[in-house]
């Protein structure tokens, strides 16, 4: 049988055999279904990607060509190809036309000049006047200021002004030359389209027809070349293990490092306050508007009441956070060494301030898995605690204001602990958590992330 005519399903095979299967090369509109979500056809996706980048590139190129033809080439011709002569100003006026946002104006100067014995007399100013609807702007004063620079050439003064005419069409003449600066700034828009479109298209085409592994290698090599980014520093031997440099940035007073908290209670309080104020002000404003709409307040009330209830909930949330912040003081956690090694021995210092009557306090080393996935157009993240090692537990005690509860303890990271791991969609995170059940609620939980490195020990074979 020739290759690839028939494949077989993937399954569990003995250790000395490889799992082998044939892959269809034909085009699929739909990808495989994964659980309850469809992953989409990679080929169709890449085709769509290529079309998207191509359209972006085309738009950029078209914009660039339009700008060149409309502004740059005419202005360049005026500066380099038009012939210099002199003219008389015989009349002037402000041209006006209706724009979308009101009237538009432009200076119009009637000049008289001679080319090869022929006298030309017409309305001119700059090269853009010769395009239909060209040279207009919203400022009448600007147009008047231009006109004021060109007094009429009366019979008494016979003043003459320099002007430039097109040798290919002497009917076209201008009184001013130069380049408009904004045109060059305008080029940044189509240029960015060209750069992004071309870059995306090249990237997509380079990946076209490549296997998933080949594409992954190309992406990895591109990241390695990114010497402006995080890869500029010395690469860690522990790939996909977070560096955790921010964890060791703060020295401790008793032990080596003071661990940072995942979420500061101060920020939670501030967030609750902002939400509470913004929401309730919005509801209050809505009520005021509703009161002005006399006669239609009935249905308006039906909308405002649920919003007001949410506002009340926000006030309760804020007061709860305020209570937590006021009663439960700072939790400080210091550690003797970091990052952690499986099997390694460490010392922990805990300081808990506040005025608390605690029913049950627990300090634990916790491992959580975090998985992110797309479901339709939504991105979802799920977190699951998979391991918990209780390091300390103390029931029924009180902490007085000004006398923080302090304790030190030794602990070891389990030998078989999985290391911290971080990839684009999956993470394994370790943290030391301090949790207290209070006699009077609310309870609290504070989490201090730590990094666990891969075990380097013997496999026990």
């Amino acid at each position: 049988m020739p290759w690839g005519q028939r494949g077989h399903a993937r399954g569990t095979l003995p250790l000395d055999a490889a799992e082998s299967f044939a892959l269809a090369r034909s085009f699929r509109y739909y990808g495989k279904k994964r659980g309850n979500r469809r992953t989409g056809s990679p080929a169709l996706g890449r085709a769509g990607e290529a079309i998207f980048w191509a359209v972006l590139l085309l738009l950029g190129c078209s914009g660039t060509i339009v700008l060149l033809l409309q502004f740059v080439v005419p202005e360049w011709r005026v500066n380099h190809e038009f012939v210099t002569t002199t003219c008389k100003v015989v009349d002037k006026r402000i041209g006006e036309r209706r724009g979308e946002d009101g009237p538009l104006f432009r200076p119009e100067i009637k000049i008289e000049y001679e080319v090869g014995g022929t006298t030309y007399r017409d309305w001119h100013y700059d090269i853009h006047h010769h395009k239909i609807g060209g040279g207009y702007s919203s400022g009448r004063e600007n147009a008047q200021a231009v006109l004021d620079q060109f007094p009429l050439s009366g019979t008494a003064t016979e003043a003459r002004y320099p002007c430039w005419y097109d040798p290919m069409n002497p009917y076209v003449a201008v009184l001013v030359r130069g380049y408009r600066r904004w045109v060059w700034w305008a080029f940044t828009v189509p240029a960015s389209f060209v750069v992004i479109g071309a870059g995306g298209l090249i990237y997509t085409l380079l990946q076209w027809g490549k296997s998933a592994e080949h594409r992954a290698v190309m992406a990895q090599r591109a990241q390695e070349r990114d010497f402006f980014g995080a890869n500029a520093s010395e690469p860690s031997p522990y790939l996909f293990v977070p560096a955790g440099t921010d964890i060791t940035s703060s020295p401790g007073t008793r032990l080596s490092f003071r661990l940072p908290m995942t979420k500061s209670p101060g920020w939670a309080l501030f967030g609750a306050l902002v939400f509470c104020v913004v929401w309730n002000l919005s509801v209050f404003a809505a009520i005021l508007i509703g009161l002005r709409m006399a006669g239609r307040f009935g249905w308006f009330l039906a909308i405002v009441v649920p919003l007001g209830l949410i506002g009340l909930g926000a006030i309760v949330l804020f007061l709860r956070q305020l209570l937590v912040a006021a009663r439960i003081g700072p939790t400080l956690l210091e550690i003797s060494g970091h990052p952690l090694q499986p099997g390694g021995q460490y010392r922990l210092f805990l300081s808990q301030s506040g005025r608390l009557t605690i029913r049950d306090m627990r300090v634990s080393l916790v491992c959580e898995e975090t998985a992110s996935y797309r479901q339709g157009t939504n991105s979802r993240t799920e977190i699951q605690e998979v391991q918990r090692y209780e390091l300390f537990r103390r029931p029924q005690f009180a902490i007085e204001r000004g006398v923080p509860f302090e304790m030190e303890l030794d602990f070891s990271v389990p030998e078989g602990a999985m290391h911290s791991f971080k990839a684009d969609h999956n993470e394994i995170n370790w943290a030391v958590t301090v949790e207290s059940d209070m006699v009077v609620r609310p309870n609290y939980k504070r989490s201090f992330p730590v990094i666990v490195l891969p075990a380097q020990g013997d496999l026990g074979r």
Binding site: M1, P2, W3, G4, Q5, R6, G7, H8, R10, L15, D16, A17, A18, E19, S20, F21, A22, L23, A24, R25, S211, A212, E213, H214, A216, V217, Q220, P237, Y238, L239, F240, V241, E369, T370, A371, S372, Y373, R374, E382, Q384, V386, Q387, R388, G416, A417, M418, H419, F421, A423, D424, H425, N426, I428, P454, A455, Q456, D458, L459, G460, R461
Partner: protein
């Protein structure tokens, strides 16, 4: 011999558990009744995730052999590969996340479907996460 073409990947050593930094070596070939040549073969040593989250994948080592008129590829001829395994990520059998290491061989025939063979191995010895019973 199987009627269907099969990729055979044989790993040296115990062929299953490897330490970080250890050398992984082995050989691969394709078993098929048909001896038609292939235009390219790719060999990758990689890890990928399985489970609830979208798939993450990184290739540790990648080799590509392209055939030309002077150097056709005989797919039945065993070819060796060798690499030093990295320190991480270690193989992991979690609750939502699984990290699997494998050697993957992908063969591209001149006509028809590509053929893929995969041989899993374990990097490190992290024990599987046991489901915790609710307190």
């Amino acid at each position: 011999m199987s009627a269907e073409p099969t990729v055979v990947i044989r790993l040296d050593g115990d062929g299953f558990v490897y330490r970080p930094g250890e050398t992984l070596s082995g050989q691969y070939w394709i078993v098929s009744r048909d001896t038609s040549p292939v235009k390219a073969i790719e060999v990758s040593v990689l890890w990928h995730s399985e489970g609830k989250g979208d798939e993450d994948m990184a290739v540790h080592e990648f080799w590509q052999r392209d055939a030309d008129e002077l150097h056709p590829i005989d797919p039945g001829q065993p070819e060796r590969f060798r690499t030093t395994l990295p320190q991480s990520p270690l193989s992991y059998e979690g609750q939502m996340i699984k990290l699997r290491w494998c050697v993957r061989v992908r063969a591209f025939p001149y006509r028809g479907k590509e053929l893929v063979g995969e041989r899993q191995f374990q990097l490190g010895n992290v024990p599987p996460v046991r489901v915790r019973s609710p307190a």
